[in-house]
Structure formats: C-alpha cells, structure tokens
Amino acid sequence: MDIIFYITAFVTLVSTLMVITRHNPVHALLYLVISLLSLSVIFFLLGAPFAAMLEIIIYAGAIMVLFIFVIMLLNLGKETEIQEKEWLRPKVWIGPAILSVILFAELFYLISSPTTSYLIEQTVDAKTVAISLFRPYLIGVELAAMLLMAGVVGAAHIGQHKKTTLHRFLQEEETR
C-alpha cells in the first residue's frame, strides 16, 4: 500500500507543478484535473472512500468543467499564451518559492517529530461523515447552505433582465 501512496503523491506533485508552469490555460486546467483525481486516490488509500468519490464528482467533474467552459467561451488563443510567457519570468518565482520552502520546512518538522500520527487506520464511510456533519458540525452545514443560497439569489438577480419586445409596433405602444 505504501508504494501506491508514494506513486500517487508523486503524480499529484508533478501535475500540480505543471498547473503553474503551463502557458496554455486549458492545458493548465487539465493538469489540475489530474492533480484532483490523484488526490482522490490518496483519500481512498487513507481510508476515506466517500470523500474520494465526492472529490471527483464535485471538483473534477463539476467545478473544473465550469472553469473550462468559461475559458472556452472567452476563446483565449495565442495572445494569452504569449502574455503568460511574459508574466512567468524567473524573477516572479522568488516570492512563491520562499513561501513554499517555509511550508515545506514546517511539514518536515511535523513529520519528523515522533508524537504525531498521520495515518488513521479506520475507514471513514458515508454514515460516519453524515453523523459528524449533522451532529457536531450542524452549524457549519447550515452556514454553508446560507452562503450558497446567497450565491443563488445573487446569480438570479444578475441574470434577471427586462422583457424586451422586438416588434417595433409593440415598442411604440409601450413608449406612449
């Protein structure tokens, strides 16, 4: 099992790196999809099949498709690729690299200290998730629901437009 974990982790890391370094936005998004898929495999290995499946259905299957949908609509062509190349100069890498090194050092410290256990041996199935969602974390679920509701209402408001009559005689009648 360990070796499968390391292979998947490697795939995740490489694909995530590729997301940042690709110049073509659609290629970058595809690498992000691969990274999400391999993350879900890691969830599966760690004993959370329910979370793994939801990761694919929601992130890889719905949100990423919407991202690609928008990028397709914007019809970004060669110009964006050139622009991206301009933006990704070596100087840009310094800031993120420092932040990543700090995080990596922290991670290294946490893993090397003997007291923390990072692998849970027990499988978290759908029932356990449901019980923890609707017992101790109920308020979180409700807050998330309210946030989503606000989003829906906002989208409905923006999408709403006045009924326009296209026939010129009818228009004249309205203006009178």
């Binding site: 073509n24 659609v26 290629h27 595809l30 999809v33 898929l37 099949p49 329910f50 793994a52 499946m53 939801l54 694919i56 259905i57 890889a60 299957g61 719905a62 498709v65 919407l66 690609i68 949908f69 397709m72 609509l73 019809n75 199935d125 759908a126």
Partner: protein, 319 residues
Amino acid sequence: MSTVLEYILMIAIVLFVLTTVAAWLIWLERRMLAVWQNRCGPNRAGPFGLLIVVADTIKLFFKEDWIPPFADKTIFVIAPAIVAATVLMSFVVIPYAPGILIADLNVGLLFFLAMSSIGVYSIVLGGWASNNKYSLLGALRGAAQMISYEVFMGLSLMGIVMISGSFRLTDIVLAQKDCWFIITQPVAFVVFMIAGIAETHRLPFDIPEAESELVAGFHSEYSGMKFGMFFIGEYLGITLISAMVVTLFFGGWLGPGFLPPLIWFILKTFVFILFFILLRASLPRPRYDQLMEYGWKILLPVALLNLLITGGILLMMNK
C-alpha cells in the same frame, strides 16, 4: 497469486463481452430502426446483415486518420479515449450475478456517478481541441447539458440509497428481494431514465451533435478510429445506463428460478437497450433551451420532492 489472475481474467472477459456487445449494437440499432420504420435495414452482408459490423469496423480502420493542422494535437487525440475509458470504468462496479463482478466497492453508486461526470471532458475537450465553431458550440451545449442532468441523476438515486441504506450495488440489488425499486420509487426511475438519456447524449437529447444544425457537433473534425471511439463510447453508454437501470430499479440479477441469474440480468438489460433505440426511432429533438428549462424547472423539483417524501415515509415507518 491465483486471485490476481482470476481478477485479470474477469476483467478481460468483461471487456471483451462489452466491446463486442457495443459493436453488435450498431447492427441491432439499424435493424430495429428499420423494423419500426417499415424498411428493410441492413440485410446484405452475412445472415440478416449481421456482418455489417465487420464491414463498418474495417471501413473505420482504413479511413484516413486525419488531425486538422489547426487543432490542439495532444488533446484532440486524448478526448475520444476519455469517453471509452470512463464508461468502461463504470462497468467495474456493476454486479452481473452473485459472484460475477469485478469490484464490490462500498461507494459503488458514487463511483458510477463520478465516472459519468468525468465523461463530460471527452465532449468538452474534443470540441475545444477541434478549433472549429460548430465543434465548440457542440462542446458548450454538451457541457451544460451533462453537468445539469448529472445533478438530477444523483438526486434521483438518493431515495434508493435511503431505502437500501448502502451505496454498494450488491446491497441495493439484495434490498430488492421482496419488491423491486420500480414499485417503491417510480418517480426516481423516470427522472433517472431521462437523465440517463441526456448523459449518453442519445436522441432525443443528442443536442451536442445535432447534425441538422451543427454539422456533427463536437466530433465534426474527427475521422477514422478516433470517430469510432466516440461511436463505440455512445453504445457503451447505452449499455451502461441500461445495466444501471436494471441494477437499481429492476432487481438486477433477481428473477424466477427457471433461468440463471446472469441470463436474467442480460435479458433485462437488452429490454432497456431496445427502449433506447425505440426512443431514437420515435421522438424529435427538443430545442436546446427547452432541454435546459425542462431539466431545471421540472426534473429538479420532482427529484427533490421524491427525496423529501421518501425520507418522510422512511422516518414514519421506523417509528
């Protein structure tokens, strides 16, 4: 070691049977369409025109496999593989008969939904990589259609999960021992069937292709075996949805004892495949906005209501 070999053998058998079935479905569809429309249909190559599949395959293999110079080459090549791969992956969780299944995942139903949601990429990427207006329009329609109908598909199945208390497909089949879910969940069946047709983008919901307005939609630029992959993917999709309907609503392998369970499963699946073909023979294609409106304004409330009522009744019965 022998279990690993058994596994591989099982996978090989299932793969072989499925691809063969998908290929012969081409003949079945043409023949049945002809019967229903009072024509002869394919009847020249071999007995009953059965060899038309072989002729078709040879033709597809020998056609020029052309990649347009303006296309995004890598994605253009990957896109048709995604549809076949995701549909075939979904067959992993289907229990064909007791003991005849590849993986008895405890999240089997979710795995099926996940794979069908990944399948959207083949249309979106194929259309985008072709770099062609008609393909892009087909891809946009396909993405919108499949994402929205996935929602109702998932929601309609949650009633079944509540009754059987498990995402495992074997448990769902066994929960239907006394009473098939078509009797307790008829509304869910209708919603799932409609969403299933939209997911496989078959007529009447073949709006991403819509050959009368979009040339051939997302696969306009595809030729040779790459087109063949989309084609086979569609028939595999029909088989998958039929098999899922049988597993979820019509008791899977369960049936009177005079036939073995596997035969029952195959018979029921073929009934639904024929139903898919009959739909193609009889229904016109709706307009794109009609399809979306129908989904969000009718199917979503119906699926939610079904969920609410099922939950209420289950709570009452527990008390």
